[in-house]
């Protein structure tokens, strides 16, 4: 009889285990299937812009130089990324762009190829493996030696535009201009822009060479030009990183300072008044429940964009989190130590100072440092919403959708920043907790 009952109970346990073992994964699968359709994953492939992905990937490690000839005035312009800030001064074009005596311009490409921009608003390009492409603007339409149909997909033509794209270059002929892009690996003008006298000089030359700019010392001048680089804006970026760290620091530490006294009010063993305890706890719940997003929106209306808004948003949200954590830590305090201190005739304040604080400080410090690290990330996100710090620069660079090398640069900086904060807070935690 007892055996039968035992068997039956074992069967029951096994049946339950079976249901859990198969039921739980099945449930997850059903949920994922629902998500598959709710998020419209089949339609995603259509909506995805793979050409965007390609530009993005190519842009992260390469840049292009635009050679533009005005088909109306005939002027020639060579500019990195087509930006005014990256424009080569007149007569200082790179050596792969050579103006000829007959008015044509020879542009050398990789692998010995050459595109010739002809004087009569046309170009000639001998593409290896395809043949000579010749095109020019006649009146208001484009005439070329290309056949009407059967063109490869890297050539597109219409009466007003002809575009040829190969691996390392692209030529587009329109009514107003002939534009050639040549791609180079690397980030352009990262140290010095073209108008700086230090552009193209090596580090050794700047440090030990002759004075380059008569008005300034080499090191000071180079630093000035690097720091004020108009394209990469190193100074602004450094400030942005600093602002983000400032937000995280002020927010976290401010929250800890506000939360500590409040936590005493909400800890069972320190607050005798039940109503007060209940009220403080609801305040903490409210602060956490409203969430950083809503705090950020509310605060940015009052304080405008900037690091102060972000710091206050972090402060408010984390006061709620810290309040909860701190009061839990306070509730776990060992009463014996306080009794011991009290037995020496200590007054209440001294009892807190020598009986409670030494017990909770390691827990609190370690929590605060954890939050400091994770708030560096939050500060980036809040900066993107309210406008401040590196988050703002990141969103700005992304919205323009062309400076992906800058986006990459910022992303790398953010990752380094967060990792540095991670190891700094870990180091500080070990140091302080050992010392306390």
């Amino acid at each position: 009889m007892a055996d039968a009952a035992l068997y039956a109970s074992a069967d029951r346990v096994f049946r339950r285990k079976k249901i859990v073992a198969f039921g739980l994964p099945a449930l997850v699968l059903v949920y994922l299937a629902y998500i598959f359709f709710a998020f419209d994953l089949p339609g995603l492939a259509e909506r995805a812009r793979w050409d965007n992905a390609r530009t993005l990937l190519a842009d992260t490690w390469s840049y292009k130089t635009h050679v533009t000839r005005d088909n109306r005035g005939g002027g020639l312009e060579v500019a990195i990324e087509g930006e005014r800030k990256g424009e080569y001064p007149e007569g200082r074009a790179p050596d792969w762009v050579a103006a000829q005596d007959d008015g044509s311009v020879r542009v050398a490409l990789k692998g010995g190829q050459e595109v010739i921009l002809l004087p009569g608003n046309g170009f000639r390009w001998d593409v290896p493996g395809y043949g000579l492409i010749e095109a020019r603007l006649e009146g208001r339409s484009i005439v070329s030696n290309l056949p009407q149909d059967g063109l490869p997909d890297w050539i597109s033509t219409s009466s007003s535009r002809l575009q040829v794209t190969t691996d390392g270059a692209r030529v587009a002929l329109t009514r107003s201009k002939t534009e050639l892009f040549r791609y180079f690996p690397g980030w352009e003008l990262f140290f010095f822009t073209l108008d700086s006298p230090y552009h193209g000089r090596g580090l050794g030359e700047i440090l030990f060479g002759a004075q380059i700019d008569p008005a300034r010392g080499n090191l000071a001048g180079a630093w000035q030009d690097f720091w004020g680089n108009a394209m990469w804006r190193h100074e602004d970026v450094a400030w942005a990183i600093f602002e983000t760290l400032l937000m995280a620091f002020l927010g976290t530490m401010g929250a800890a300072l506000v939360a500590l006294p409040l936590a005493f009010l909400s800890a069972k063993n320190f607050a005798p008044l039940m109503a007060l305890r209940f009220a403080t706890r609801r305040v903490f719940d409210f602060l956490r429940g409203v969430d950083g997003l809503i705090w950020t929106i509310v605060l940015s209306r009052a304080f405008g964009p900037g690091p102060m808004t972000g710091a206050l948003a972090i402060l408010l949200t984390d006061t709620g989190s810290f309040g909860k954590l701190f009061s839990e830590a306070l509730e776990n305090v060992d009463g014996k130590q306080i009794e011991g201190v009290a037995s020496t005739g200590a007054k209440p304040l001294q009892r807190y100072r020598f009986g409670v604080i030494p017990q909770v400080v390691p827990v609190l410090v370690s929590q605060v440092l954890y939050f400091l690290e994770s708030n560096t990330r939050s500060a980036t996100i809040i900066g993107a919403i309210t406008g401040g710090g590196i988050g703002l620069l990141l969103t700005q660079a992304m919205i323009t959708q062309k400076d992906w090398e800058e986006v990459t640069y910022y992303i790398i900086l953010v990752i380094l920043m967060v990792m540095a904060m991670d190891s700094a807070s870990g180091w500080l935690r070990r140091k302080l907790i050992k010392g306390l």
């Binding site: 812009r49 002020l250 530490m253 304080f303 900037g306 710091a311 919403i385 401040g388 992304m398």
Partner: protein
């Protein structure tokens, strides 16, 4: 001072000297901290568009506007709540799926990066660094890049949060794994179990309650993250909030409905997850 040879003969003086030194260090640390806080505050204040003191009286202007816009149209509030409910469900779905996927990734990554359990012990550092990087990238960065490629909608947010979750949970999970008992694993390997079988049958049953508890905590965090990502264009309630905010003064009643939904959701899930975790802890204690 403390190195003088006669110091040991004077324990009281020695102690007082030590205390004085400690006090000095403590005081100095406190002074530096206070200085950092004050100067940081002043700097942040000067770099903000609106100053702290001038903005302080206006803090309640916006909430007051929202309430003033909502109160006369209180009868429309249930309609608004109902209208934005699907967006809320989308936000919760984003958080749930990304927690599921992220936790799955975290289990694999954590097992691969725990000493004694790793499939390829030489690659432990590689997987650890990978988790560090996944953790360090803010979700918003990945989300914005993916929005550029995949277009707006829930998928970029889901992927972004899932990647971050995999890194964050991976670290916690591998700390849990380190405390796992290795005897079942040894027993399984003695009967010729493969690595997957050893992990699935020997390790995961031991650690799954802890996994679950951490994943639940993460789910709560991910709901907040998914609302924020919506605000930058990744769908869900955040996106609706952004649109509702754009209506401007006089029409904040829809924003009020969204604020309310978001607040209630976060509070409910916060309470729910802490309740479930407490229940798990107490049932574990009762069972032992």
């Amino acid at each position: 001072m403390t190195q003088t040879p006669d110091a040991p003969h004077d324990p009281r003086g020695h102690y007082l000297a030590l205390m004085a030194q400690r006090r000095l260090y403590g005081g100095l640390t406190l002074a530096i901290f206070a200085l950092l806080m004050i100067s940081g505050f002043m700097l942040a204040d000067s770099r903000n568009a609106g100053g702290f003191w001038s903005g302080l009286p206006q803090v309640f202007d916006f909430p007051a506007d929202v309430i003033a816009d909502t109160l006369p149209k209180l009868d429309r509030l249930p309609g608004h709540l109902l209208r934005y409910f699907p967006a809320l469900v989308e936000t919760i779905n984003i958080a749930a799926v990304s927690t599921l996927l992220g936790a799955a990734g975290a289990i694999v990554l954590s097992l691969l990066s725990t000493r004694g359990l790793a499939r390829w012990p030489r690659l432990i550092t590689v997987f650890r660094r990978l988790m560090d990087i996944l953790r360090a990238v803010p979700e918003i960065v990945v989300a914005l890049v993916l929005i550029f490629v995949l277009g707006g909608g829930p998928v970029p947010a889901m992927l972004a949060i899932a990647l971050h979750t995999a890194g964050a949970l991976g670290k916690l999970f591998s700390e849990v794994n380190e405390n796992a008992d290795l005897k079942p694993v040894e027993g399984l390997s003695s009967v010729g179990a493969t690595w997957l079988q050893r992990m699935w049958l020997g390790v995961v049953p031991q650690v799954s309650p802890n996994y679950f508890s951490y994943a639940l905590l993460r789910f709560e965090i991910n709901i907040r993250a998914s609302a924020i990502l919506g605000f930058v264009g990744a769908g869900g309630i955040g996106y609706e909030l952004r649109n509702a905010m754009a209506w401007g003064k006089g029409r904040f009643d829809e924003a009020a409905a969204i604020f309310l939904l978001l607040f209630l959701t976060i509070v409910v899930f916060d309470q729910l997850s802490s309740h479930v975790r407490n229940a798990m802890i107490s049932s574990k204690k009762g069972g032992q």
